[in-house]
Symmetry: C7
Subunit: 94 residues, 7 copies
């Protein structure tokens, strides 16, 4: 089962804090969500959205910062995803 976003939608999955702890020590028992940081899971085709041409600029695997409160949480087979518009993605983390 796979989510295929329409138009300029992007399916993202929130990042868990352990993988970015600054000190380098990994604490798997303390996994907690990192606010607004997510990994791109699937990207819509873009195209004419509400009368305006939208080109998609993120791709699956990108780590991104997204806008607080944006998007819709969906639960597919007990996994939590968020579907946002690309314009709700603020920045890519490199």
């Amino acid at each position: 089962m796979k989510l295929v976003p329409l138009g300029d939608r992007v399916v993202i999955k929130q990042l868990i804090a352990e993988e970015t702890t600054k000190s380098g020590i990994v604490l798997p028992g303390q996994a907690k969500e990192k606010p607004q940081q997510a990994e791109v899971v699937a990207v819509g085709p873009g195209g004419m959205i509400d009368g305006k041409e939208v080109q998609m600029q993120v791709k699956a695997g990108d780590k991104v910062i997204y806008s607080k409160y944006a998007g819709t949480e969906v639960d597919v087979e007990n996994e939590e995803f968020i579907i946002v518009k690309q314009s709700d993605i603020l920045a890519v983390i490199e």
Copy 2:
């Protein structure tokens, strides 16, 4: 009796949870609605909507995720449908 949506409207019907239980065990007595998951029943013709060309990208039978709170619930011959704009459909489930 059939619902024929106008413009970029899509008639959908909410999915019942039993058919997607992960464990594989079907529990027909516990049918409960799956939030935001629906099956497309009928699709409008698209065309010029509010001055903008809209092409329809879903078709009858598609399973979709739609935006919470979007659309209008209608009751036709004791069946519950929801009529949404295509832009309220976030993703197709494959």
Copy 3:
């Protein structure tokens, strides 16, 4: 006395429940309004509406589903009508 809608307006009249009871038994004494189901009474000419070309896609006699809370109720010679924009009509019932 006749209502001639302007622009993309449509005059509709709410349907009464008796004519669609599923069992086939007509209960004239219990006539109650069917929410959001109406019959089209008169259709405006369409044309340039707020800077956008609108073509009318419903016609007098069509049974339609319209958007809850949309439109303006008017009383002409003790008959109740609702005047909506065509974009408030979600689907035709066939």
Copy 4:
């Protein structure tokens, strides 16, 4: 003294109920306003309004249904008028 509306504005005057009583009996002592029914008194020239070409479709003398809460009431020489935009006029009564 005369009101000359600008742009797509229309000056209307609310109709008094006595002239449309269905039974044919005129009750001049009971004149009460008919909600949303008015007679067109003066019509603006139309033209480019907010960047969009507007053609005027009503004329002085037309009886019209207008949108509840629309428009501005003005008092000129103790006569009450309402100034609305043409788009607030829903239908002409013929």
Copy 5:
């Protein structure tokens, strides 16, 4: 000291009631403001306003009806003026 409005702004000054008393009797001691009636004092140049061409259609000296609550009251050398956009002027009184 003079107010020169920018763009599609118009400087107006509210009319005082005495000059329009219907009976013809002038009551200078009772001067009270006439709601929404004003005299045009100065008119902006018009031109491209928010991406749209606006032509000015009122001129200094015009008596006008303006939209309730529209505009900004300003006090210049103890005289009260109101600055409105031309689109807040509903009609000219002739």
Copy 6:
């Protein structure tokens, strides 16, 4: 240190009342702010703003009336400025 506004922004500084007292008597000890009257300090370059061409029509030194509640107050080196969009400037005082 200097504020260089972007786009259609204008940096203004509120006027102090003493310089416009009508009687001609200057009361420096009573300087109080004049609501909505300001002097232009710096003007942005204009150009394409939100998809629309904007030409700047005020210049540094102009005394202007600006819209109540518009703009953002900023404090630079203990001097108070307000940054507004040019469209929040209603009129120039000559």
Copy 7:
């Protein structure tokens, strides 16, 4: 780890007050945030944003005034950033 803003977004970092104290005395122990003053850290590519061409006019290193309440605060590796749209940047401080 680096933030790469999308579209017309700009990553900024709030300025600390000590570096602009007027007297010239630096008080490192009292570092407090300067409201609305920030340094540009990274700038998106601009381009077609919501159907409109946007050219970026600020660059990394610029000191800017930004609009109160605008933008989204993000925390990357224990550093606080704010991501704003370029249109939320009011002025550059030179």
